[in-house]
Amino acid sequence: MIYQDSKTLLEVRGLCATVNGIEILKGINVTVRTGEVHAIMGPNGSGKSTFAKLLAGHPAYALTGGTVAFEGRNLLELAPEERARAGIFLGFQYPIEIPGVANSQFLRLAYNTLQTQRGKDELDPLEFDDFVREKMKLLEMNPDFLDRSVNEGFSGGEKKRNEILQMALLEPKLAILDETDSGLDIDALRVVAGGVNQLATRDNAIVLVTHYQRLLNYIVPDYVHVMDGGRIIKTGGKELAVELETRGYDWVSAEYETIARATA
């Protein structure tokens, strides 16, 4: 939702990055304010997942230019865990399996680490158990998932629910959800989207990275950005997503190139 009195959370200017010497991001500009839901769409290889991971501090990418401010701080000089503590959350496209670590143990460790950073009290295992079970209801998750190893043997849908569960526990200011809809059947999609909608407030913001418009039927974006070739080539409202669904991405690229030629 766009609010008049919203505050700027994230300000990205001219962001360029390479991986293994190949330029992936070629000057990204985007501003996200509190209360907003942004969708970043684009064909495969357009750089949208790279952008998401880079905001969370993934070490594989080399920054070659631009700035990223998060609540006015230079995000790029923060380590990944400092970004998490500052309030950034990345929902992974492919959540990592960690055999040998119980999900409950992992969730509590993550939760308590952030609680400590925020100057709040940690929860002991019993208190945490009550707390996490409440949050699991939001995602219609079976409590059995607490006792299993982190993501091990989880289906695609279960992994994504577990990601949103972490978002619910960690209460980030900015949640970046990378292809959260991929691998979900329609029922799971509805549940996960419902969970995300309940977590959206006027004080936080959500960036959805997605290939398909389908998720946006459930989580309605305020802004839709189209990425291609490492740039945001078009920005519009929620109706742009619908148009992309019927017309594909090619026309946006063609339009961008025409404008680029005209202004060159």
Binding site: G57, A60, A79, I96
Partner: protein
Amino acid sequence: MSILTSNRYLESLLAGRPQLPAAFASPALAWLNRLRADAVDRVGALTVPTTRDEEWRFTDISPLTRISFQPARSAPRLELADIESFDVPEAAARLTFVDGVYAPQLSFNRAGVVVENLASGVNQHGATLEAHLGRYAEFQHNAFAALNTAFLQDGALIVVPRNAAVAAPVHLLFVAARQDVAAYPRCLVVAEAGSEVTVVEDSVALQDEAYFNNAVTEIAVGDGARVRHVRVQRDSGKAFHIANCAVTLAHASRYQSVSVALGARISRYNLNVLQAAEGIECAIDGLALIADRQLADTHTSIDHAKPHGISRQLHKCIVGGAAHAVFNGKIMVRPGAQFTDSSQSSRNLLLTGKAHVDTKPQLEIFADDVKCAHGATVGQLDAEEVFYLMSRGLADAAARNLLTYAFGAEIIDRIPIASLRHRLEQTVLEQTHRES
């Protein structure tokens, strides 16, 4: 080291051999005294292995020979409070040995089966002992097994009669109390047909100094019997620990083993499992978690001698500091051992640039209709996994600790005793913290 000095070292260890206990004087025990005498002869003929021996290629045991170890004449008197931290509350029985000497005041038996000191049970259980003792742990070519056998006296004797099931574990606690002591722990487990037992061999220290544990364990699992065997080696960081374990499995029996090596400056564990009949299943898992300049060497051999045998093995090493882990896993499938189903996996985690691992699967297959899978990996922590945890707010070191812990916990989780599992998980967590 020349052969002469090498043998002189063995002779020097032998020189400290105590007088034969009176209980062994009975004519009925002539076989036992012959066994000891044979072993003494073999010690005289063998030498301390060097890295020129194929079986010891990666493990230089020569630091052992620079220290003079003597057996304890008597054990220092310990109280229950001294070993409280090693207590396994689930245990149905415990035999405690201090510096190799049986400590009755620290032992108990509520298991309802024979769990007693070998030296005291030697007359009453002479026939069982004669049928099994020294029959499986070969010492003709093994200097350390020969030395242990030469010192045969105190030890653990467990006999589970036909169809008896001991639900709670039997805890064998070997406590190292004084420095420069050589101890020769000996265990014999006889699980008769259809019986069931869980045995924990636990090597612990009340000191940080150098000592020498040279253990031999023999386990005979009868038809359809089931033995779970847990081995925990948490000796002092200066200790030397050499252990030979021989397991023989009868028709349709089950053997499950989890061994965890945490301590010792140099440790070597030889586990030889013989599937002597058809339809046997064994699972052999191991974890070595070492740091500093420790060396942990595990040599296992699973011998599929008969058809329809199943074996599964997962061995893991977590190596920090400038430590060195060795794993040699031999799988033998004899001619005629058709329909053998065997899988072996060696997974190794190197935490530092100076950490080192030598891993060698060794498959010798002489039957044509078998399934044998094996694999080995050596790696560092996965960067994506570390990033995942950091993106949830964990600092780099905390993320690495958790992943290292998880790597080891997979093995520890297989220990069928909750209290021990919990304690070892704590130990692993502390040790991984120390590493970072």
